[in-house]
């Protein structure tokens, strides 16, 4: 009999709990009060970091390393990390961090949509949210700051550089990243606009290689096989540029500074910058993964009672030219 009563109680508790979750989860998380838990961990600032899988790319690996180097006990942080490339998993991780009572939630969202309710939750519980790398579709009042790269600007810098090369004719093989991603849209946009505007700019081939070197190699191979002339390869990341160069090498087409084909890449992988240094490639656009210091600055400002003047902080990003790059650049900016 006792068991039955207990089961009934449990069941009704679960039903109530579910109902509470349905209302945005506010009721259920109220019980785990945030301050009580922060006191337990001493003077350290508790941060919960939600990132994409570090294996996703060299960019992400560098990004994760940078964050780990900043957010540790030596620098006065008690940091917890959660990785996922799926939005729903990230959201439940965020909920977990809020329940744990973190002071700051650092977020690189997999997807732009679906974050409103969990961020409202965070606000109610006094958790401050800082976005990095990627923005989301939510009311800016729900987060303190957003530190991002401006992909369109990266694209524009690259296209401006290319225009500065003063070729009489631009026949471009455009190798795109995964269609619809922010990086692809930003980096494609600038080139598309330029080609539409200038009579001597032509797209020879425009294909997605899904960030994949071998696909890029096949795309360039098919253009070579078709004997279509081209003099620029605009690849939206370093891997794809590398694949493209493999195809050029196999076909005996010269590339690099002062050669037949201009090779352009993005992300500033160390090995890519070395190719620049060897004059095999011509240009590499930076996509700055080092957001940790920016974030830390904001947290320090907020902790000392200050406020952030600008919500969206766009990071400095460079474009490297093979004719001017130095070993120091490779060491400092290579990821």
């Amino acid at each position: 009999m006792k068991k039955k009563v207990l089961a009934m109680l449990l069941a009704s508790a679960m039903v109530l709990g579910l109902a509470a979750c349905g209302e945005g989860g506010a009721a259920s998380t109220d019980t785990a009060s945030a301050p009580a838990q922060t006191e337990a961990s001493g003077d350290l600032i508790k941060v919960g970091i939600i990132n994409n899988d570090p294996n996703e790319s060299g960019y992400r690996t560098a990004n994760d390393k940078d964050l780990k180097a900043m957010f540790n006990e030596a620098n006065g942080y008690d940091a917890k990390f959660a990785y996922s490339m799926k939005n729903d998993e990230q959201i439940s991780a965020a909920q977990g961090f809020i329940t744990d009572g973190v002071d700051y939630l650092l977020l690189s969202a997999a997807d732009t949509a679906g974050w409103d309710s969990v961020l409202q939750d965070a606000q109610k519980n006094g958790v401050k949210v800082i976005l990095f790398d990627r923005t989301i579709d939510a009311d800016p009042s729900l987060y303190e700051a957003s530190i991002v790269s401006d992909m369109a600007k990266e694209g524009q810098t690259a296209v401006d550089w290319l225009a500065g090369q003063g070729l009489s004719e631009y026949n471009v093989i455009h190798i795109q990243g995964h269609m619809g991603s922010a990086a692809q849209q930003g980096r494609s946009g600038a080139l598309d606009a330029k080609v539409a505007a200038e009579a001597n700019w032509n797209i020879v081939a425009q294909q997605t290689a899904d960030w994949n070197a071998e696909n890029a190699q096949q795309i360039v191979q098919s253009v070579i096989d078709a004997k279509t002339p081209f003099n620029v390869i605009y690849a939206e990341n370093d891997d794809m540029a590398k694949g493209a160069v493999a195809a050029l090498d196999a076909a005996g087409i010269s590339h690099g500074v002062g050669k037949d084909v201009i090779v352009m890449g993005f992300d500033c992988n160390k090995w890519a910058l070395e190719e620049l240094l060897k004059q095999n490639w011509n240009y590499d656009g930076q996509c700055n993964p080092f957001q940790a210091s920016y974030i830390s600055d904001i947290i320090k400002t907020l902790e000392s009672g200050g406020s952030v003047s600008e919500k969206t902080i766009i990071m400095d990003e460079k474009g490297f030219d093979a004719s001017t790059i130095t070993q120091a650049d490779v060491d400092n900016y290579g990821i």
Partner: protein, 362 residues
């Protein structure tokens, strides 16, 4: 005996249409004709020099043979797995990452940017084979001994494989310093045909020899069709299923060698992405039942090259990036549906009716 009156209606024609190779060969022919009409230069193969100054053949046909190598090799293993277990291994892309990562780990050691290779390539390749076969053995054990559905069993490595690959090299992306390593996918100086083509050919010859000089084919098919009966005839079905996964693991290691050699480095998240689907598709395009049982190895291999032929053709026609998967889907639907037994039966009946009608007229 009198019931077995053979009906000879359009004998040769029926024999051709009824052959399992008919649809894949027809598909190749159609692709050839479409390309001939659109741009005959598709078939031009020219001799040129590569950037190292050595002669190489180039042209779309060479590209197809070159880039189709990995898929053809994987199709071999996938055919055996499909036949024996009646299911598919969806982890081959991820295990290519694992085997490739292991190979790089041996070649580059702890340092992701060594100035010279730390071990001979052959050792690295053997380690990769071992790792590939271990992955296969893991999948195979789950399927054969624990009777887990192949797709579910291989889902484990499908999900975890790329993270394991990254873990093997501590998330670093090693680059092989020796330019000779690129020879496995590119051309060996003096030989104008990409090495990958030879590797694929060697694998095909090897499996054909194995099928000819062992009973692998008979055992695999018997197990796939009727496991009970195979056991009562002295075959060990558990072992045969396990073996098919291990062979696929070996195929994965060879494919990984080519894939990694193409760029002398690795990208764990995108290397051989979605290749498992293409490998399964190759088996299906060959007219082999995905529910296991009888198989035709040549048809699967041809299926792999059809997929590459199609990809190269779509690149060549500069089909819009967004539209490319749709084109591929349409072609695949046509091929798979037309090689489905139901449709084939219908057509053979149609031909029969047609030929008998012709006879009546005559």
């Amino acid at each position: 005996m009198s019931a077995k009156k053979k009906i000879k209606t359009g004998g040769i024609w029926k024999k051709i249409v009824g052959n399992q190779m008919f649809i894949p060969v027809l598909a190749i022919l159609i692709l050839v004709i479409v390309n001939l009409i659109k741009d005959p230069s598709f078939f031009v193969v020219t001799m040129g020099l590569n950037n190292d100054g050595f002669p190489v053949l180039s042209g779309s046909l060479i590209s197809i043979l070159d880039n189709g190598s990995e898929l053809a090799i994987l199709a071999i293993g996938m055919t055996l797995v499909t036949a024996a277990s009646g299911g598919q291994d969806i982890s081959v892309g991820a295990t290519i990452a694992v085997a490739g990562s292991a190979m790089l780990r041996v070649l580059c050691g702890d340092n992701p940017r060594p100035t010279a290779t730390q071990a001979p390539v052959i050792l690295a390749f053997l380690v990769a084979c071992l790792v590939g076969m271990l992955c296969g053995a893991f999948n195979g054990a789950l399927v054969s001994a624990f009777k887990i559905q192949p797709m579910v069993a291989t889902l484990i490595l499908f999900t975890a494989g790329r993270s394991i690959a990254a873990w093997i090299n501590n998330n670093e992306l090693p680059i092989v310093p020796d330019p000779k390593f690129a020879w496995f996918a590119g051309c060996i100086p003096g030989i104008p045909i990409p090495t990958s083509v030879f590797i694929a050919a060697a694998c095909i010859v090897a499996i054909m020899l194995v099928l000819k000089f062992t009973n692998l084919g008979l055992y695999t098919q018997a197990v796939g069709i009727n496991e009970n009966s195979s056991r009562l005839n002295g075959i060990n079905p558990t072992f045969i299923k396990f073996l098919s996964f291990v062979i696929l693991g070996l195929c994965v290691a060879v494919a990984a060698l080519i894939k990694v050699s193409r760029i002398s480095t690795i990208n764990y998240s995108v290397i051989a992405k979605d290749i498992e689907m293409d490998a399964i598709l190759a088996v299906a395009l060959g007219g082999n039942a995905l529910s296991g049982g009888k198989f035709n190895m040549w048809a699967s291999i041809l299926g792999a090259y059809i997929i590459q032929f199609l990809t190269t053709t779509l690149y060549r026609f500069k089909v819009d990036s967004e539209a490319r998967p749709a084109y591929k889907a349409v072609v695949v639907i046509l091929l798979v549906v037309s090689s489905a037994p139901v449709v084939r039966n219908y057509f053979s009946q149609l031909t029969k009716r047609f030929t008998s009608a012709k006879k009546e007229v005559a």
